[in-house]
Symmetry: C2
Subunit: 200 residues, 2 copies
């Protein structure tokens, strides 16, 4: 019973800390993103499109952000109105919709990403790189367990593989949005970045 009680106490402490860390982090980020004309949810959608490296189906955004397709659809609606994304129907299958990022969102994304990364780095600063890796590994284990709880038939290996495939995109995205100047920008003399429009 004592061991049982101790484990219940640890579980509750963990629950409370996960809740507090997430909620306080959300409060901080709401402030940060508001300064850049975005909500935290909008930033999440934009980053997801960035990770995928190409126009994304709303269902994929929902899956990636672990939200319901319905709530993502509402967020995307508001983002279309705010001029941050466009919905485009596939020429092949007219029922298929993909979400594009606009140049207005592109312009907001770089400073917002830098500010957000600065914040995450700041809160991670007391932890050594080894501690950070430990934290990531422990949270990763929990995530797999929760996925299994929500869907006992989930293929964790496949989920992990899919995430790893996005890893390359994440690197590219990071290079694009966080480094002072990208290799491409350097080749162009670093001057054309502000007026450069992406052609798809």
């Amino acid at each position: 019973m004592t061991a049982n009680f101790e484990s219940a106490e640890l579980a509750l402490k963990f629950w409370r800390l996960l809740y507090q860390t997430y909620t306080l982090r959300k409060q901080s980020e709401d402030q940060i993103f508001e300064e850049h004309g975005l909500t935290t949810e909008q930033f999440g959608v934009l980053v997801t499109i960035g990770f995928f490296g190409s126009p994304v189906k709303p269902t994929e955004i929902a899956k990636w952000l672990a939200r319901s397709p319905n709530s993502i659809s509402m967020i995307v609606d508001r983002m279309v109105k705010a001029g941050l994304v466009r919905r485009v129907r596939s020429t092949g299958d007219r029922r298929e919709v993909r979400v594009f990022i606009t140049s207005k969102a592109e312009n907001a994304l770089k400073p917002a990403t830098l500010a957000s990364l600065e914040f995450i780095r700041k809160i991670l600063s007391p932890l050594s790189n080894e501690d950070r890796r430990t934290l990531i590994s422990l949270l990763g284990t929990l995530k797999s367990e929760i996925l299994k709880y929500l869907n006992p038939e989930v293929d964790i290996e496949e989920t992990t593989r899919n995430e790893s495939e996005r890893q390359g995109n994440m690197r590219e995205w990071l290079l694009k949005y966080t480094l002072p100047s990208t290799p491409q920008a350097k080749r162009q003399g670093g001057k054309k970045r502000k007026t450069k429009k992406k052609t798809e």
Copy 2:
């Protein structure tokens, strides 16, 4: 630059995992609490009142749950309508309101707590007790950093002291809501638990 990039990549991975772990956990708990006629937010408010061990000021609930007083006020409004809590004005200072838990909420709380603890234990099950303590300690460090970010003047030591003071209440609360039968119930022959009404 490479070390910088690596730290940005770690920061982003952490951000993503914290988000996913919290969101997936929330999805799971929404399901669990719905089965017990509660929302996850309502459970949070009830647990807070339980932790304090006595009627609580709404501002204290907001602080404890790291939510705005406004959002707690709205949640409490709905809970009053649902018969889960009562608002009572202090006889001394009429402006001071405290929130009481009703017997209806008491009855829902025990099975909801047990189901929620079972879930947390399940997702923590692959981690050793040492890993759990590491996770709690790392999240605790992050929490302090985020608190400092949100309010550079915050007294972390005082915050920690306040939390420790609640630790005793948390133990009592856990004993009351999670053990098969409490010492008191045992003295009563463990038969009166269902009909027992708390008198305040």
